[in-house]
Symmetry: C2
Subunit: 345 residues, 2 copies
DNA sequence: CTGAAAGCGCTAACAA
DNA sequence: TTGTTAGCGCTTTCAG
């Protein structure tokens, strides 16, 4: 069966049921009252022909596709996968279909994908972060496609945000470590190029340290890809100077730091405290269990879908929502010890 | 801006450029030779109006959407996320857009999603596994939508398969453990309901054990959801009887077993050998590093996209491909010790 | 090389 | 309650 057979159309159904196509459309859409008799005939005809309607033609006529787009940096990061999983599930429940594209963390590429999404006629679009090419905003405004930026929340943003405040979340981390007596703090951050969330996390750490009279000099922060292996490689360099606490850009990076510390015989949290960000499900299971920031990717994905669809369905602007993060203190952070872990180890 | 502004159409471009819509279509599709002068006028008009074409209308006219569908059990499993990430990337590179739906591991739900995919006019469809409702196969044949079943390979399957042999992969695991002297083997499997891959892995273990004169009685295999926490809970029960080796349905389950063993003071691999399945990137980093089966989700996703698109573009049947899995022996498996780990621990 | 016109499958007035 | 008739925005013969 290499040739695409011509499938039944509404017209075929109409002919078989001896009604007009308009009537078929009506029973399919429950749009107006239909006599039981006619309705039954139509339903039978549909069944008999195995008719499946053409959503594309429908969208063309209705000027509404029933699809939502989502453009994310990568799927190879459990936290994005979890958020999109929830977004898709919610969209599905509310009658929408998901079109998904991955930008590979490249904003120019993201722009091209936005155009493609508009071509596809998505009714709403999910984007990650608050940093996008100007052309993206221009196109979105021009076409009136509603969109929501997630994984971040900036009160000053002109776009709708359903997300959390990355900087503030890091403030809580710094406060926690400071309260435990840590003064020698370094950071293993995510790569900030084209990534405002990673940037905000660095900024959050830095500004909070400075507000306490400390600092985060450039040589105390190393940026790495979100990967355990890469994180391990950078661990030694970032702990070269005396360091009692290491703040990681996300949980995956923290796993790398923790595993490498253990391999090098550095006691966590005795010699070194480590924190993560995301609270992946594994983080609670490790030993020592990881102190981290819970971001709630699942509720975020769900809420983003709801807000977006509500706006689309009611022709309103998308509403923002600020989600709260929570510092989850577990076993990788402890009061700084007398003989702090240092370069002499 | 709550109202969707009317956006420029091909007709607007045509008017501004003083040509016919057919010409606009031609320059957009590079379909036939155009005089440089006319082409320039069209391009200018497009730019001036910020024209973006309507893929839906295009699909209706061409009877081809340029989209690929994918229906997967869940995204909350790194291995699926990785496979889909590769599938999407490849589709994108070849000019296709991905429509993604999650079936939540429910075959009836999957059927509904297949119908929706057909409504959307996908040119090709990716499915996971070889077990689907009869109606799914019927609809797919009826409409002529090409599809490929992944994450499994069965030479007897009537559908195209791009995947690996789950049973055979487990044979290698059993052989490995047997070679190390293990005779008391139990299994912490994935849930086999609506999941032929999980089922095949159990079958693979069982048939290989039996071929060696051993057995896998029902009380030696416990099925658990793919979650570290759930796996930990089941660990004690499955190791109740004397057991020297534990085969896990995937890496996540193996993580749970490993962590719980460590917590209970069971030495791995001294007292108990543990194996996983998938070879997630973390598996190589743990200590002890996990012995597992590498399945290559990334090349599989890529190949599935290529095979599917090739078939669509050339009106051919989709070709199957059998991918090889590889047993990666690391540190969680070892020769069975004299005083085997047993119920007396 | 370019234009005119038909039509992809559906919905939405407007009539009846 | 039902049918008729325009399109929705695009591609594609067929002429010229």
């Amino acid at each position: 069966m290499a040739l695409k057979p011509r499938t039944a159309t509404q017209l075929d159904v109409a002919n078989l049921a001896k009604v007009s196509t308009a009537t078929v459309s009506r029973v399919l859409n429950h749009s107006s009252a239909i006599s039981p008799n006619v309705k039954a005939r139509v339903l039978t005809a549909i069944d008999e022909l195995g008719y499946i309607r053409d959503a594309g033609a429908r969208a063309l006529a209705m000027q509404r596709s029933g699809t939502l787009g989502a453009i994310i940096p990568t799927l190879n990061n459990a936290i994005f996968a979890e958020g999109i999983n929830a977004f898709e599930r919610t969209a599905q429940e509310l009658g929408y279909t998901l079109i998904l594209s991955v930008s590979q963390q490249n904003l120019d590429h993201e722009h091209d994908l936005v155009i493609k999404m508009i071509e596809r006629g998505v009714d709403g679009l999910l984007l990650v972060g608050n940093r996008h090419n100007d052309a993206v905003y221009r196109r979105l405004d021009q076409t009136g496609v509603r969109y929501v930026c997630t994984w971040a929340h900036d009160a000053k943003s002109l776009s709708a945000n359903v997300g959390f405040d990355n900087r503030q979340a890091m403030h809580a981390v710094v406060d926690h470590l400071f309260g435990l007596g840590h003064r020698q703090i370094a950071m293993l951050a995510g790569q900030s190029l084209d990534n405002d969330r990673a940037m905000d996390r660095i900024t959050g750490v830095r500004e909070r340290l400075e507000s306490k009279g400390l600092s985060l000099p450039a040589n105390r922060v190393i940026e790495v890809p979100y990967s355990v292996a890469e994180s391990r490689k950078a661990f030694t360099a970032v702990t070269q100077k005396p360091v009692t606490a290491l703040i990681c850009g996300n949980d995956v990076i923290a796993y790398g730091a923790l595993l490498e510390a253990q391999k090098q015989g550095v006691d966590v949290p005795g010699d070194l405290s480590i924190t993560g960000f995301d609270d992946l499900s594994l983080s609670a299971e490790l030993s020592p269990a990881l102190t981290t920031v819970q971001v709630g990717a699942e509720p975020m994905g769900e809420l983003a879908a709801k807000k977006l669809i509500y706006a689309v369905d009611n022709q309103l602007d998308v509403e923002s929502a600020l989600l709260q993060t929570e510092l989850v203190v577990r076993e990788t952070t402890a009061r700084v010890s007398i003989q702090a872990f240092n370069v002499l180890r």
